[in-house]
Symmetry: C2
Subunit: 328 residues, 2 copies
């Protein structure tokens, strides 16, 4: 069963989806939908079309799964429930606190239109969430830890760029190695925000800007930096572009738990991601779940799902027999 994919929104994530489709023989990119003038958007896939979001409805029967590549703040809360009226959809909605509300909205629209919508797909939420769930189900008595990085936080980089005198900036979130080791050693540490991550900033100043003032503004910024040990490096724009233009990320999900009649045995479950490209990895997860969405829809299922609701076999192009023979 080949799956015809649509991409809604062609930024870093949309381009990542396009690349991921190329790596999966049973996937085919049908069209990219953009809010921009389609003539101004050039894509990599020769066989696919670029269309206006206004023409989405024309593609109702020509696309099996629409992968929605908008932002979580304002795009997805509107786009996903709208889009699921026409298509099976996948999104990467990542505002953790608003997931229940988003799920309810997508579920209602999906049930009415008879489609499948899988939300909050990616790595956190996504693969990290799965690992939290599996580890908690296996070790009901224990402690959970999530560390992020080393990686670029777009939100923190943006926050620095909004400071007066800053021309450009990149911020890395870095897990504290000694905290990770304490968890791995089964010490069950209680860790403050400051003890879990450090923040490293590479900043390009506007001409004549006051470096000391900028550094102070960064380090004392509430929520973003004040609760962390933060290092600020001032560098040239050339150096920023040369050494800090990638979008790496990753992190660790750990669960430390006990078993035994007297809880005498310790266990550690650790899941780690080390990613050169945050958007391309997220896109790769989205495409695997698009395969699942197509299959679930073909079975006649409808409504909203999360990664928790999808049996792993649905993600693979291999059959059940092949999977049992090769991977079990």
């Amino acid at each position: 069963m080949s799956t015809r994919i649509g991409i809604l929104g062609y930024g870093n994530l949309g381009r990542g989806v396009e690349c991921a489709i190329r790596q999966n023989d049973d996937m085919e990119l049908a069209a990219v939908f953009t809010r921009r003038d389609p003539a101004s958007v050039s894509i990599l896939t020769q066989t696919a079309q670029v269309c206006s979001v206004k023409d989405l409805a024309d593609w109702k029967d020509k696309i099996d799964v629409m992968i929605i590549c908008g932002g979580s703040a304002t795009d997805l809360p509107k786009q996903t429930p709208e889009c699921v009226k026409l298509f099976n959809v996948i999104d990467s909605f990542d505002t953790h606190a608003r997931i229940p509300e988003h799920f309810a909205n997508v579920d209602a629209a999906a049930k009415e239109s008879g489609h499948i919508g899988i939300i909050s797909v990616g790595w956190d939420p996504g693969m990290f969430s799965l690992n939290r769930l599996y580890a908690n189900a296996i070790l009901p008595e224990g402690s959970d830890y999530t560390f992020w990085g080393k990686g670029v936080s777009q939100g923190h980089s943006d926050a620095i760029r909004r400071i007066e005198g800053v021309k450009n900036a990149k911020q890395y979130t870095i897990p504290v190695e000694s905290a990770l080791e304490a968890v791995r050693n089964g010490e069950n540490p209680e860790l403050t925000t400051r003890q879990k991550h450090t923040r490293e900033c590479f900043v390009v100043l506007e001409e004549g800007a006051d470096a000391a003032k900028v550094e102070d503004e960064i380090k004392t910024m509430p929520n973003y930096f004040a609760d962390y040990d933060t290092t600020v490096h001032f560098i040239s724009e050339e150096e920023l572009l040369k050494n800090h233009s990638g979008i790496p990320h990753g992190g660790f999900v750990l669960r430390s738990g006990v078993t035994g009649w007297e809880k005498e045995h310790k266990h550690l479950i650790e899941y780690r991601l080390k990613l050169d490209s945050n958007p391309e990895f997220t896109a790769s997860v989205l495409v695997a779940y698009a395969r699942a969405a197509h299959r679930l829809a073909a079975e006649g299922q409808k409504g909203c799902r999360s990664v928790f609701d999808i049996a792993p076999a649905y993600l693979s192009a291999k059959s059940g027999e092949e999977l049992r023979a090769s991977m079990l």
Copy 2:
């Protein structure tokens, strides 16, 4: 929904299941079934009964899921297809090459009797298999690596004990740290058996035994040791009991892959287990899947399943709403 569990076979694994049930409020141990004289078997749970395997059929309506704790070589190929005629069942069948055959046998019997059977549950096969599947679905272009240890291999310890002059022995399988690091660095190494693991043996000799001869027999033993760098330590029985009576294990599943239009970005997915007690951890996985089996059966499903076929949410005592609010 509370789940009444039966345990078939009361060795290390069966006792581990008993301990795991105690950690899950929605699980209850109904009875332990043994091939021994029930009067000779004492269990930890005051409220549960000890019964003869001959009386299994009497429990048909008093047990929701039977967890079969026999060995893969001779017990499970017979017990699981037999048992699924009466109960929903879980086993930890771990002879990878014979899984397709075992699956088919259990599937036929389960479909006929209207029960659910989940086979090959544990950590390898089990959690390691899941991680291989997820990682392959996300990164279709890449390499897989599985390392085991540091941990006790029962099979290798037994092989040493069969050598003339050996009174007792314990064998540890140890992953080679430099090989692990090469994988983590994205070097995609091709690793021989010798490059992946070393083997460390602690041996107690019979009085008057020839140490050099025993060491040579161990190191040259085909399949078990000849292809590995093996270290042999001769110790006293007291030291063996004091320092080597645990059953720790664990290991690593890694996938190193690429994304991007020109495959320009590298990614690493790593899953690690560090277990004080191999049987108790395996038992904890079995109990989580027993919860899933009970739910699937309550939905009217029947037939054989593996961990690949079970949506993660079925493993957790929490509802879908709770899971989305707390773990997604």
